[in-house]
Subunit: 708 residues, 2 copies
């Protein structure tokens, strides 16, 4: 499939298959808008009904075209659309956008036609967009190739490109963001059912497109989600922010996805993990695109998360402080030196902590504003500055804006404003700010949200660089691969732990006994107390079957327990095939955690961490990351769960061996990568985490081979 998409967005010629003379209809609009918006290339409407359309010669078929156009738009019904795609292929057309609906989003019949589309596109190596989409706009080439109300405007070119699975919604976002938010777009494309070029293909292309500086996306699900991380990391390398509006996160929403663009929605937890790992910014409303876009265009990168909040009315400062804290920024006091210099400049009742309330005194003296700003932005404890100007307007607004602009000009630190005055009364002020790319927002909350996005992206870039320098554990075990590749049933307990041991994850001391005497001998070599557990593929619920005894303190107790278990299990399931009874050291003083791998069909192997039992099952207090991970990411996972204090020494416990836990997660990550072709799921439950310095031990484990 073609993924060098310059030609798609900048076609020299376009065929419009199924173009209609009824210009208001869906099949009439694309031709009409291409003409109206001044597309400069050759246009070939195709419809046997007409001789001519909008001044362009109309052709009876694809075959009849005088040249091979760069791009074809297909507007006919689904059944005919399949034939037209074939015709485009034969003609050698490199890019096709199919608008037609009626494919996999309507069920089985449509799905089989959709498979035909895929086969044809592959056969002819067509760069294929759609079906069930609303087209695209290449702003620089004026290729307004689509339909809908967004197409009535001429857009000014800019640095933002957007990929949207939803046509109507995507274009309405673009239109509003451009016309009211002043966002400049470059390429906007809607992808619908994504049979051919996917959202991630487009992102990959846009990362390399020098004129695209920010990528926005609306997505219901990604069929090639396993590439999300690689693409996110490429964007970090290029320092281009990716904004993703991911919908279909509730059960009900996922059902709706199925009937809309029929994209696999997948587990939101794994999308979140991928977003987190690669600094992809999630957005939640149209406004975010507008707000983040102006933040990123300021051209400045905060070196840390410490924000100084300046107000002329304390109310906004408090709210911005709450929002900053909620979004992971730090609101710390200024340095004493700065406070000392500020004090003589402001009224006695001004607050000089952080937020810094310059009070309404600014109405009487704008000089104060500049001096204070300079002192604050130069404070070494400050990484970025926000200022809330309430409804400041008129002459004084212009003066304040001028001072802000001057300070912004000579500082590398971002400065962003919350400013609620209407454009009519503060237009001059806003223009001064725009000139030096100082972002300003109508609401102080939005100002802080945008600053947080800018800060998080800068942090993600720094973290990414650091991680590239961090060692990534790789372990290969031919034996483990061979064992698992041949497995047809689950590997339970001791077999699973043997496999874990090949990757350096140690289990509890244990041995498999096949007689009571044997059990006592093993217990003696391990040391008391011990635990006995039945081992049988036929008995998945050991405790229920009476197959577990704990706290056995002597050889006599062990022998008695052995016989008792055998009897109980025999009563529970007389025909169970029994491997033996596992004699295992009994671990005390440990916190029990769960480590897991889910080899997701969409994302590939994902790692899971949480505390045992209730914390995972009831409280859903778990962290996910896509494998492989470095030690710093393992650390992040561990500290992300709410129950983390239980590991770090809450309620008078000794702190656990977190270093060993990090190590175990890295080894599990290496295992996940090494076995990704053969592994379905893996759970270590529990992993005992002993007090600091004493390591971790896998207590029990279960491995499910991957079902082909």
């Amino acid at each position: 499939m073609r993924t060098d998409l310059d030609r798609l967005f900048n076609p020299r010629s376009i065929a419009v298959i199924g173009a209609s003379a009824e210009l208001g209809t869906i099949s009439g609009q694309p031709m009409n808008f291409l003409v109206k918006r001044g597309y400069g290339g050759a246009l070939y409407p195709i419809n046997p009904k007409y001789q001519e359309l909008l001044g362009h010669k109309c052709y009876g078929s694809v075959e009849a075209l005088p040249e091979t156009p760069d791009l074809a738009l297909i507007l006919v019904n689904a059944r005919l659309a399949v034939k037209m795609l074939e015709a485009c292929g034969r003609k050698g057309i490199e890019f096709v956008i199919m608008f037609s609906s009626g494919f996999s989003e309507i069920g089985e019949e449509g799905a089989s036609m959709q498979e035909e589309l895929l086969a044809i596109a592959k056969r002819y190596n067509i760069g294929f967009v759609g079906p069930n989409c609303q087209g695209m706009i290449g702003v620089p080439s004026k290729a307004y190739a689509g339909f809908g109300s967004a197409f009535i405007y001429d857009y000014k070119p800019g640095p933002v490109s957007m990929v949207s699975q939803s046509g109507g919604f995507g274009f309405s976002v673009m239109s509003l963001a451009a016309m009211e938010g002043g966002v400049g777009f470059r390429y906007v494309v809607t992808t619908g059912n994504e049979v051919g070029i996917s959202t991630l293909d487009f992102m990959r292309f846009l990362i390399d497109d020098p004129q695209t500086r920010m990528i926005a996306s609306y997505t219901e699900g990604m069929k090639d989600a396993n590439r999300l991380r690689e693409i996110g990391e490429a964007a970090l390398d290029a320092r281009k922010p990716i904004l993703v509006w991911k919908v279909g996160n509730s059960e009900e929403g996922q059902r709706a996805v199925a009937s809309h663009t029929a994209n696999l929605s997948g587990a939101m937890a794994l999308y979140q993990a991928a977003f987190k790992q690669t600094g992809i910014l999630q957005i939640e409303d149209i406004q975010d695109i507008v707000d983040y876009s102006s933040a990123f265009q300021c051209g400045k990168v905060p070196c840390g998360n410490r924000v100084a909040i300046i107000t002329i009315s304390g109310g906004a400062g408090i709210m911005m402080t709450d929002e900053a804290i909620a979004r992971g920024l730090a609101v710390q006091p200024l340095s004493p030196q700065t406070v000392e210099k500020l004090r003589p400049l402001v009224p006695a009742f001004a607050a000089l902590g952080n937020p810094i309330d310059l009070t309404a005194a600014i109405f009487d003296d704008t000089d104060l504003c500049r001096k204070a700003l300079e002192l604050i932005i130069d404070d070494p404890l400050v990484d970025s500055v926000t200022m809330a100007n309430a409804g400041l307007q008129g002459e004084i607004a212009t003066k304040v804006a001028r001072e802000v602009a001057n300070v912004a000009r000579r500082s590398d630190k971002p400065i962003m404003l919350g400013w609620s005055a209407r454009k009519e009364v503060a237009g001059e002020a806003y223009a001064l700010l725009d000139e030096v790319k100082v972002p300003h927002y109508r609401s102080p909350m939005r100002c802080m949200r945008a600053l947080a996005a800018l800060t998080h992206h800068a942090e993600a870039c720094r973290r990414h660089e650091a991680r590239k320098a961090e060692p990534l554990l790789r372990i290969t075990s031919e034996q483990a691969r061979a064992d698992l590749a041949g497995a047809t049933t689950d590997l339970a307990e001791y077999r699973a732990k043997q496999l874990l041991a090949r990757y350096g994850i140690a289990g509890t001391a244990e041995g498999l006994a096949t007689s009571a005497k044997d059990a006592a001998r093993i217990a003696g070599s391990i040391g008391y107390p011990v635990v006995l557990k039945i081992q049988s593929a036929d008995i998945p619920h050991k405790t229920e079957a009476g197959g577990v005894r704990v706290g056995l303190k002597s050889a006599a107790e062990v022998e008695a327990a052995y016989e008792a278990i055998m009897a109980a299990v025999h009563r529970y399931k007389p025909d169970a095939l029994i491997d033996g009874i596992l004699v295992q050291e009994m671990v005390v003083d440990a916190v029990e955690v769960i480590l897991g791998i889910n080899n997701d069909p969409l994302f590939g192997p994902a790692l899971m961490f949480g505390l045992g039992g209730i914390f995972t099952e009831v409280m859903k207090d778990v962290a996910f990351r896509l494998a492989p991970i470095q030690a710093s990411v393992a650390s992040e996972m561990i500290r992300e769960v709410k129950a983390y204090p239980l590991l770090s020494g809450a309620r008078g416990r000794p702190p656990c061996d977190e270093a060993a836990l990090v190590d175990a997660l890295c080894k599990l990550s290496a295992l996940a990568v090494d076995l990704k072709d053969h592994l379905g799921e893996l759970d270590i439950n529990p992993l005992f985490v002993l007090p600091a310095g004493r390591g971790v031990k896998a207590g029990d484990a279960l491995i499910k081979p991957r079902l082909k």
Copy 2:
């Protein structure tokens, strides 16, 4: 303090103390704006420097005024302001707004001056607003009595009144909401340090004000928060929504509150509890005031939480579904009858689940829109309807809007639209919707948020009515009051449980032993196994002192344990005063929960519920409500915690006796009310919740008397 505030907002005459001829300054603006905005009453500037100001005779002092004005504005510095307030009092002025800063927000000196203000206001029964505020606007009377950029506009009167502790921020919100969001305001007042009339006083007044239909508020904290619930309930009786923007919720934000308006910020958890109990809607940005205001003005009340989501492009539907679910609405399939009738109207690829995607086919046939809308809104499984129209514009937009308006006219169910078209291209459509008060929003997300607010408020009103009919348990115990009133130290374990028993909350079977023989005798009468626990006010940490033994199965074990505890405790603290050793039944099969009362200085007695230990301390998984509560509220608390499944039978446990737990919470609520003058804190930790039908038992308890 005066709280009949009609005269404040509609004064017949206003004195402006400290009015300045420099009209741009803070002390120059109020007089200037009153004149400019056309205030019709008498104006008395007071400043010995001038003979005349803006055409009004200027007076040298308050005493010199020819009449007693209804309202005085004080604009002089803090020190002088105190004197001026005294002068106003002597003159008999009923209402005073003090703008001056420099009181408790600057520290101790200011705080003592603030106390003087309070004393004077009380002495003369002055309705006092401020200090450290920015005045008010009474829109109907054109009493634009304040300063700042909001005052340059003439506002159209409307049904929304607003109280804001922050002046600059409050007025900037008002101005933006009015001028860009079209919100019509009635009374807007800023309260600053709230020495006199409080936010809640204003709310109480506005609930009774017939022309106010919605109350908005920005607050940093309420000194009289104990009235929040009563006022919230009065608003529910009046069916008026209260919107509260509560800031100062982070630790850093609370610090900022102290230096801004110096209001007590209090525990956010209790504000949340009060908001939840009384259906007060929390808002988070300026936009919410605008959006909710138009939602509430639609005049329709959803009878339930089932929303039908109609789109012309599926993308918006999925996102709205996510948002609806996240906000507690239900997105359920339409009835089969409705689907059957819809099917022939729409293209084959249209999705008729919910969301209902009518697809872009609507471009070709607006009739479809009306028919579909009628069928959907009349579906008995639908309580409200939203429709997302993307960027629909021009003639077709007008047609669609006309159909929507027609349907809205003849249905009692709310219908609200997400519509992203710019006003320039859909103005006619928007006007048609405005005419019939159909709310429409630029973003589908905002549409759903607003509908959720409308739905939650309707639910709160219904719940409130139901609760008024629900019995409220009251228990009075003179003995308990007397016991606690006399207490100077904490009541621990058995004494606390004796007090609980007076309110019907049973404890474990137990007895206090003072000898080993005694202990064995008590154990025999309780039945084995038992637990032994040391009882001593000097030993708060019993386990640490070796003062607890569990699982004792015979008289011999009990006697041995008695002696062992005594020996251990003696080693631990030789001089401890010992009451004896408690012999207690050992409860098995129970889930351990915590019930608590915190008699908060701001809110009064609040009830707490959570699961034991880690769940409360580490996971912070707790529910709060203000006492008293009915059984339905107790139920709500129990089901609110994330760990609730542990009570209802997760992980193969038998379901717990939830009815008994509800009963215990109601009894604790009765206790909290009965003892509110004497109780500081109370914890039942653990309360054993036995399997269904077997009740609950207090395992341990601690009561701290209220410190005067």
